[in-house]
Amino acid sequence: MSVASAVAEQVLNGLVVGMVYVLLAAGLSIIFGVMDVINFAHGELFALGAYFAFAIAGPLGGAGFWVALVVAPLLVGVVGMGIERLTVKRLYGRDPLYHILLTFGLVLIINDLITSVWGKSAQPFPIPAVLDQPVALFGFNYSLYNYGIIIFGSILALGTWLLLNRTRFGMIIRAGSEDREMVRNLGINIDRYYTLTFGLGAALAGVAGIVLGAYQNVSPTMGSSVIIPAFVIVVLGGLGSFRGAVVGGLFVGVVQTLARTYTPFLEGLIVFLLMIVVLVVRPKGLFGTNIGAGEHHDGALLHGAGGGVLSSATRAKLGYAAVGVLVLVPFFAELTGVTYSVTLLEDILIWALFALSLDLVLGYAGLVSLGHTLFYGVGAYASVLTLMHFSPSVFVALAVAVVVCAVIAWSVGYLSIRVSGVFFAMITLAFAELFYNAVFKFDFTGGSDGLFGVDVFYGLAGLGIDPREFEIPLGIMTIDGGMVQYYFLLAVVVGSYLLARRLIRAPFGSVLQAIRESEERASFIGYDVTAYKRRAFVVSGGLAGLAGGLFAANNGYVAPSFLHWINSGEVIVMTVLGGMGTLYGPMIGAGVFVAAEDILSSYIEQWQLVIGVLFVLFVIFVPRGLVSLPQTITEHSMFESAVGDRTSVKDAEVERHD
């Protein structure tokens, strides 16, 4: 085969993948454009399409594929409409960032449903025999199915474009994305169209899932592997722009495929580099307009519980009690032989620190860092590399982790904090994915295996404790290296909390709270809002790096999974679950989340589902988190029927547009 036809084949392969991306990104983009909803669950709807088709086509044999191609997307569309009606709808009028949280919970739910019905392993989904043959065109053989995808995808994309631009439905959708209140004022029930739009987006994702499922195979991870590229495309093309989704989808598909063949090193990196460049140079994307982005308001409702939950004296007492219990646990564990509880507590403490770090930016500076695991993972790598190459001292390793992460946070913050809201979220996500993909590429990071078998020394310059040799008999029990590790961790986490609390009570923290209340006003009394946010992000990045470093040092290993976006999602879940903007709330959230995960996973297989459902309920009904429960319960019993539901919904609507 000539060079030219080899390139042509790669371009065709790229267009095949690109078509899948177009269908996926178009739905994502339409949903965002019309409803301001960033739908993290879009990848799972995509997977659902593939599995529905798989389930339909299997028993029907020959013609099954064609039936599935029609029926499965419709089913996914119905699921999408159901999701909109039951969950998404309840959050209209709140900050769009709540939708990120909600749909993240939906990811857990749908993904768990898929694995419990169809199993965890990938399964082949054969394409119909008619399509499974090569055709000779332009001088070389190429799969008919692949040509089919390109043609079918083009037809669907064109159809969607016509639907948006040439029908009454599309006209109302476009008008709604520009000024939904005005559409209502004209006498059109826009809510009904929202449901339909969500269904349309879901159905398109379903089609994409079927097409790709039959191109490769169906697996429960197929959703999480496409959702990030799909976001990249939507951001590249411009949030809410259909044209951007089409051009971006094809472009990313082709670039990815060509990179895989010709510059394997850049595969997986190039797309994120592109996204970062586009966001920094032209935040509204290639085809974006400011219409959609202009509607965003600073997170008026993305608020923590603040003070006011229990008195500060009560909280202090509870805090002392909690630390006291944590100090005593190893002794009881030693006495009862349930050492497992110590391991669980170590996990909880590390996630609590991670959540605490996120709270500084999410709860205080109002920045949604969707890629916070970047710092957790980099901190872990930095500390393991330090331990391996420079010093066995855990102090040195953690210090390096903190400094490296703070420097990265400063750089990322420098590039991205001036772009606001949704864009900041996307940029942080892109950076995290960039690092995630990068660690696979290098030898010094251990590639996909990560780095194993490091030992730590609790001291400096040879003076200190080596946990492997440490043992002090104490009556019926011994204080061993494991306990040293535990107490060191406890001390660091409690110390970090006290430090964070001090920061918040210092002039620096008072300005962050001012920014949270009103960014505009803070700026007009003389504060450089961007600089303060960046500083908060640096402190937060450093603390997250500390958490990652601690985990790596304690467990003696680091792996690429530390940088996987699911961690970023989980830490956001913990922070919101506990109650952001309180420092201790997210730590409680981490405790509850990790413990629940641990307990549930040992009793039921569908623990993810349970956590997902709980989280969705929390986002909808207790947006201020666990720490607000005492207050919420009191308020409810006091003003049971004070205000009619309808009035409050309408007022929220009015305030949004005024």
Binding site: N185, L186, G187, E653
Partner: protein
Amino acid sequence: MSGDDTLLSVRDLVSGYGSTRVLQGVNLDVERGSVVTLIGRNGVGKTTTLRSILGSVTPTSGSVTFEGEDITMLSPEKTAREGIALVPEERRVFPGLSVRENVEIGRIGGRQDIDKPTVDEVIDEFENLVRHRNSKGANLSGGEQQMLAVARALVSAPDLLMLDEPTEGLAPSIVKQVQRKIKQLNDEGVTILLVEQNVQVALDAADYVYILDKGQVVHEGPADEVAADDEILDRYLGVSAAE
């Protein structure tokens, strides 16, 4: 002036945003076929009155009766379907939609049980829209956007047309055009409730005038009587023709 021919009747309307009460008991009537104007300084509740009638602000108490039916608690989309069309402050045409589409979307709304004029029939009524049929809303001048907003409301053949500051920010020559249009529409039988900052426009257009202050009607009367009452104009509007 509540009589058999009353199209809209607002009684003791109390309304506002959150804990702020903007309207503190507004009473007004709009007679079929008339032009009624609400005037008053900025922030006295004129726009809130229109929004409360439409339902985009929910009244705390009081009532809104339209064609003898209580529409106080209806949502804006339902109110619009009863036959009330709003031309809002700042026009709010859909910038990404063409002129035709803007009008077409207005035609989808409004009452569902009547024959409506076609999109082109309505556009033909507006000399400065005719040649822009396929231009995007964003590319129109302020005056053209105002006409488009009126056309979008008219195409639903409303029983009541509510105009919120239609001359705001327009050049004097365009203001005159808008004034002519209001008169022409009324001559054709459209009932109009007009909120206007420009006192002269307000008094010229109206049959009957309500003056609002601090969320209440403080004075009302036929337009010519109000126009002649310098003391009233000076007290509530800070302008006086004789100054």
